[in-house]
């Protein structure tokens, strides 16, 4: 499905990371593999340092901290926020929506829309699409898009397939109408629910409720241990899905936008791991400089937060005074895959900050 928007733009990006860092090396002992096997994989996949939130820390904590940071610095004002969209797979509660919780914590106005959307690796694009659709309304002039996941709490430390690559993070993206900014935004999105079990947390919802049985660690055929309460990924299916679906998705987007590949300044893609992104860049004939793959090694893959993290980490300050044509793409859970091309620049903020916990 192709989508097009006009006179809308991103005006700020702020990424909030939990303070706690873990290195791949300190967790090697947890995996049922030799040290040399694990170290070889580290170099290929780009495992390094990832951010892990304390068990008491929830999505609303990091979101509140980030929002207050922006409000204190005058980058956003409470009264201006007409909509708050939260993209997460790790809400504080099943009910109420965590976006409402955040609205309450920050004393935002009643005359606004709060919306939780359950999306993962494609969630940044899904969030932008929904934000732009809301901005079509006359009474909505500013939308805050919060992408947030604390999935480390749903991982087995004895699962080498997922634990080393996942990180926790939140991002806040400010979106506004801008009449003078007459550029077009192009997007496309696809879904395939027949493969919804390729990336999932089997227990904890209403289909299979968490119980002492679902918490029992079981060994898989590769020597990883995980419970049904933990995230499980069919790595081969996901890998093949990305390599076969994303190149034509981007070709189709660029045709729709009447752009050539070389007219794009940066390809800021979801960051599953270094190897997958390098293979994607090779296949699409895009340089690694234009398609960064360094988020997993520095912070971990925080699902829908990985794209804004890649933007803030690799472009950061440059986006305060310059503008670039950037192609975004997210792909994963659902399965969902989506891309967008837009101008990003002259932002009020584009940085990564650290959450050090609430002062007691």
């Amino acid at each position: 499905m192709n989508l097009k928007f006009k006179n809308k733009k991103i005006t700020g990006i702020c990424v909030i990371l939990p303070e706690n860092r873990e290195t791949f090396e300190e967790n090697i002992k947890n995996y049922n593999f030799t040290e040399s096997q694990s170290l070889k994989l580290k170099n290929i996949m780009g495992y390094g340092v990832h951010r892990i939130a304390d068990l008491s820390c929830c999505v609303s904590d990091l979101s509140k901290y980030g929002m207050e940071y922006l409000i204190k610095r005058g980058i956003i004002k409470r009264q201006e926020i007409d909509a708050l969209i939260l993209i997460t797979q790790s809400p504080d509660y099943f009910m109420p929506p965590t976006s409402n919780v955040i609205q309450g914590l920050l004393n935002l106005k009643e005359d606004m829309i709060c919306l939780d959307i359950n999306q993962g690796c494609a969630g940044y694009i899904v969030g932008l699409i929904n934000s732009f659709m809301l901005l079509e309304q006359e009474e909505i002039n500013k939308v805050l898009l919060i992408n947030a996941d604390i999935l480390s709490h749903k991982l087995s430390r004895k699962d080498r397939n997922s634990y080393p690559l996942i990180g926790d993070a939140v991002s806040i993206t400010i979106l506004e109408n801008e009449n003078a900014y007459n550029s077009e935004i192009f997007a496309n999105i696809k879904m395939d629910g027949t493969k919804s079990d390729a990336l999932m947390i089997p227990a904890g919802g209403f289909r299979l409720k968490s119980s002492p049985e679902t918490a029992v660690l079981e060994e898989d055929s590769s020597g990883n241990f995980r419970a049904k309460d933990h995230l499980v990924m069919k790595g081969d299916i996901i890998f093949n899905f990305v390599q076969t679906k994303i190149p034509p998705l981007i070709d189709s987007l660029l045709t729709f936008a009447r752009l050539k590949k070389e007219e794009i300044d940066y390809y800021m893609f979801h960051q599953p791991n270094k190897f997958m992104l390098q293979k994607l860049a090779d296949k699409m004939n895009i340089s690694y400089e234009k398609m960064p793959n360094n988020v997993v090694e520095n912070f971990g893959n925080a699902s829908s937060v990985s794209i804004p993290t890649a933007i803030a980490f690799n472009l950061g300050q440059k986006l305060l005074n310059n503008a670039y044509k950037i192609c975004l793409s997210g792909f994963g859970v659902g399965l969902t895959w989506a891309s967008m091309v837009l101008n990003i620049g002259n932002l009020s903020i584009c940085k990564i900050i650290e959450y050090k916990g609430e002062k007691k």
């Binding site: 096997q37 994989l41 890998f239 390599q243 076969t244």
Partner: protein
């Protein structure tokens, strides 16, 4: 003579592949005629490690869309994959 040369090259190629596989999973004997995937000898991360090893050893870049289990079931299927890349 040409046939002998070609057989020798194939045999050397198979040995190189077995060596890379044995480094990844030293606990298995990859010279046996088994289906590596069905037997649980290789998982998705092993395949990633194998592809990186093959890319490095033969100075090639195996296409991302070729990285699926069916291309890594036996030594012969890996040889066919390398042949596609001109090895």
């Amino acid at each position: 003579m040409l046939l002998l040369k070609s057989l020798k090259k194939l045999s050397e190629l198979r040995i190189k592949i077995i060596n890379i596989l044995s480094e990844i999973r030293p606990e298995y004997d990859f010279s046996e005629d088994l289906n590596f995937i069905e037997e649980g000898m290789l998982d998705s991360l092993d395949i990633v490690t194998l592809v990186a090893g093959l890319d490095e050893k033969f100075s090639i870049s195996i296409d991302g869309s070729d990285i699926n289990p069916e291309n890594f079931t036996k030594i012969d299927s890996i040889v066919n994959l390398l042949r596609k890349k001109g090895v």
